[in-house]
Symmetry: C2
Subunit: 618 residues, 2 copies
């Protein structure tokens, strides 16, 4: 994967150009490569060997403590020592001012090696970033800093047992903690009561502390709360109370582990149901309270009622990260099944005159249908990787580009984020299924790694906004919500790629095919814009997401194919990589892109079959 990443980062996305920018001026291709190489090595040597163990030895509760396999703590300490947990932060806050693009690429190695182990790091990283972006100076010091050094781990507490996709129904309540609540140096102090479900990393003994970032419905001074998402605020709720430096005070906060969830995959990441303020650990707050059941202590981050907005501020990056994790599971399955297809002999190849029945058996990879399954996996995994890296490049552009360019990047990022989250989650799951298929019966056993990749990957269509939520976000908010502005900006990028491809002999046909689909998409969007009935417009948001996703990837593959067609300069291996990418692109144009038409058909016809279906008819 290293040669591939080189090509994507440097040839395709021109990562070195970022070093011209003031924020990244201390960086160079050498510092980027050093970070990538260190990540690759740690992931391979320490993370990968733990991956199956984490699956077999699920976290268990023993004497009230979460027990995990040996090696987890050491792996995460080694990860923290790489400095990736604060790579993007300011140098004066202990960070490296690394572009997000390199950061995400380095983390890709960990997702590929062990998705469920890397999840602890990803959560902590996202958590620290949020506090760095929205916390006060004191909150950064007390909450974010211990996470960037790996002493403390983070969680995101959004879902509740009765409220998953419907965040507006969150019932956890936050009450100002007495008269002095506004004067706490760590921020406005509240008492929280309620249950949070699906909390990854919600309880463990891997570090000194856990910082829960909790969405809760906050009372104003008069005890009133607002319904819906606008009534939510964000709270930092440490498992152990801390002082101004983030050191544990020795006092346990009232956060109780109710139980562990037993999952299909992703088993290395402990997943919990937590009760806040259940009275299990009654807290004597700094203000002097001592009531059992008074609530867990939480410090508000940002303003009253801004909780969801703050969470969504980091959601783009969290969703890119989910997409990248899915793509890396796809990559892991691709690599495993390629190795198997080269080693395992079975049957004989079909030649022009039919199947030869004599002679030694051939490797699986000699069979055309096996190559098809490998090409499909590659189209999904490399396509997903490229899309997420492109998204990361947009994040960098948004943060450090010139103002026009930054604004354009922000627009494109909003539009493409639901695709970057959902497309790899869906198609790299399919890739993992193909990896099993190439292994035959062996792939269905736990003696080979591919069945675990498939189980692990199944989560990605569910967490961080389900597939259906992404579809509504894309069509309702990102495409139609701004009157089609973002779509036009993106379409201009696609047209630029199409124009360049038209100038080549090899890609002119593919360019035409893509242009036809882009035109169909525009016609379809216009029809949707003319329809007044919102329910009808959104009825086929699902198929729209499929169609748009494959169109986006058609564009990515056309652009990648142009890049890979540039004259090779690095010898035979580089040429083979480039030939392979162009052949994979060809697979995408001939075998995948035509699916766009099938998904657009019901959208374009404003088909109302699903909406008209009655419950009683099921």
């Amino acid at each position: 994967m290293q040669a591939l990443l080189d090509l994507l980062l440097y040839d395709w996305l021109n990562a070195e150009a970022l070093c011209q920018r003031p924020r990244h001026k201390d960086h160079s291709r050498e510092t980027f490569d050093a970070a990538l190489d260190a990540a690759e090595r740690l992931a391979r040597e320490v993370f990968a060997p733990l991956n199956r163990t984490l699956d077999l030895e699920e976290p268990r509760l023993i004497d009230g403590k979460v027990v995990q396999p040996q090696g987890v703590r050491h792996a995460l300490e080694a990860y923290a020592q790489l400095g990736l947990l604060s790579a993007g932060h300011d140098q004066n806050a202990g960070g490296l001012q690394m572009p997000y693009l390199i950061d995400l690429a380095a983390n890709a190695y960990f997702s590929r090696a062990s998705i469920s182990l890397s999840a602890y790091a990803m959560l902590t990283y996202a958590n620290a970033n949020l506090v760095m972006a929205h916390g006060t100076r004191a909150q950064k010091q007390a909450f974010a800093h211990p996470m960037t050094t790996g002493r403390c781990f983070g969680t995101m507490c959004l879902s509740e047992p009765q409220a998953g996709s419907s965040l507006g129904d969150i019932a956890t309540r936050a009450t100002p903690d007495g008269a002095g609540h506004a004067q706490d140096p760590l921020g406005p102090r509240y008492r929280l009561r309620g249950s949070k479900m699906w909390i990854s990393g919600g309880e463990h003994e891997l570090g000194e502390n856990i910082l829960h970032l909790v969405l809760a419905r906050s009372e104003d001074e008069r005890g009133a709360v607002r319904p819906g998402v606008k009534g939510l605020s964000l709270f930092a709720v440490p498992r152990w109370l801390v002082d101004a430096n983030g050191e544990r005070t020795g006092e346990r906060n009232d956060v109780k582990l109710i139980g562990l969830n037993h999952k299909l995959g992703y088993r290395g990441t402990v997943n919990t149901l937590l009760a806040f303020g259940a009275g299990e650990f009654p807290v004597r707050a700094p203000g002097g309270l001592n009531n059992r059941g008074a609530g867990a202590i939480g410090y508000r981050i940002g303003e009253h009622g801004q909780g969801l907005a703050l969470m969504f501020h980091m959601m783009n990056e969290a969703r890119l990260n989910v997409g990248m994790g899915a793509a890396m599971l796809g990559m892991a399955g691709y690599e495993a099944s390629l190795r198997y297809a080269r080693d395992r002999t079975q049957g004989r190849a079909t030649g022009p005159g039919g199947k030869r029945s004599e002679g030694p058996q051939v490797p699986l990879v000699a069979h055309t249908d096996v190559r098809r399954m490998l090409l499909a996996q590659r189209a999904y995994a490399v396509g997903g990787l490229a899309l997420c890296l492109y998204g990361a490049r947009l994040v960098d552009e948004k943060h450090t580009g010139e103002s026009d360019s930054a604004a354009e990047a922000a627009t494109l990022l909003e539009l493409l984020t639901p695709v970057a989250k959902s497309w790899p989650s869906q198609w790299c799951l399919e890739a993992n299924s193909l990896a099993i298929q190439i292994h035959g019966g062996y792939g269905y056993t736990r003696d080979f790694p591919v069945e675990q990749f498939w189980r692990d990957n199944r989560l990605n269509m569910i967490h961080e906004g389900t597939h259906g939520i992404q579809a509504l976000d894309l069509l309702g908010r990102k495409i139609l919500g701004d009157g089609g502005v973002a779509l036009q900006r993106w379409a201009a990028c696609v047209e630029a790629t199409i124009d360049r491809a038209h100038a080549t002999a090899e890609l002119a046909e593919a360019a035409d095919a893509l242009a036809d689909r882009l035109a169909m998409l525009r016609v379809t969007v216009r029809r949707l814009q003319e329809e007044q009935d919102t329910a009808r417009v959104l009825a086929n948001a699902g198929p729209f997401l499929e169609a748009f996703g494959h169109l986006v990837l058609g564009w990515i593959w056309l652009d990648l194919s142009l890049c890979a067609g540039a004259r090779p300069v690095k010898g035979v291996e580089d040429e083979q990589l480039r030939r392979g990418l162009r052949q994979t692109a060809r697979y995408f144009f001939y075998h995948e892109l035509p699916k766009v038409d099938a998904w657009l058909a019901p959208v374009s016809a404003l088909d109302n079959t699903c909406a008209e279906m009655q419950d009683a008819w099921f």
Copy 2:
């Protein structure tokens, strides 16, 4: 599912007409319903409660014995008592002369309740049928009869560690057992040596004995063997040697359990690697031999060199059975997710003016995208069920129809069997994924049944001929191999349905859509017939299978829709069932059928991308 089966069996397939035939003259709708009701009840009361237990408590080896959860033996005894293991056999052989259609429908309940438990019964049933069809009178008595009464269980031993899809490379060797080998009353006696992999039910303590049906390369009198599939013969190899009545003689045959395979799903079915003739249980054969390592005793069934032909004789039914199992897993997931979608409230529905944010939460089933996921599951599961039942009806027609009709049924059955095996395996796996998706995070936990259905179903694209093997069988053998005769016969059936649909207002548009695709398919097949390069013709057998499969199901759904549109006669529930089927058909026409074009595109273009991909470019 009972009302649905009624409609499919009696209204759609006119099962009662079979009672007019001499073979089934003692049957009536009452005897059919009695068998179906008994099956439904036993499956629900005894099989279903064991399903999760079988997943959690995988078969283990303790002191050399395979240990399985309590209840398995009792469940299978109760199954045997229903008489289904010999339902299709002649009355004078203890059977019921039941049509295969009813037999398969009754067994569907068991697959739905617990696929891995029902596998013991299905294997034994298929095994007994093969012996009944091809064995001598003595073999039927000694081998088949104990299986029909549930005293003995069956296995099919085809794959070897080095030979799965490539059966021509089977290396297990069968040597005539001494001078008197031809005089054994149980059939020509051989010694077998070799390993067999993926043997379901290969060792357990559920009955008195196990009968392995083993494909092996048999030596002729001069010790010569023929390479390839034509060198294979079929052998009955009992775990314990038996007398002429199938009673154990007390002498163990030389079949050794090497190990258990640990699978992703289907965990209730013990799966084994067996060694034949390894010398673990040296056999004193009736002829007086006593050599350690002399081989396992096997009695040849049928002629020398006819092994694969005999196995394939039962392969149509075995493949229908795999398809039915996949469809029933799809059905189980559909039913579970429908229950969940009705019970679980989450969010608010989108109306013409957008999403309402107040009021109580609505059930999941109120959301259009959830209905889409339910409709898709239903289209896959009911479609798969209908296709397999149609296949079973063809089996009956082939056996008991008038000669022309029987010949036509045989032709259609050959053509449709790869679809009946592969389509439900692929799409009901997708259905199970949608069932997880509807459950959200809960579906990803082992607290709900849907993740197990998904894992269990993943096997079906692998066993009894992988998906890729089905694709080659369909395109190479069934479509092109007979010069297009079978395709024409089938197309005539499709056209008859299209004509009937054209006469209705509701279905005329769907009929047009189907007719267009049928025409495209014909053009594509013609192109393939004109191409001389066999490798190129078969390069896109995979996408061809996808396209043909969806076209077959488009026809099934159009035909079902016509049937369901007939005036309802049985009150509100019947009307709702029929409305639901018609709406599901509509979903299929608008959301699924257009995919045919995308799959046909590379086939029709004779795209050679996959064949041209080089190993070094991956």
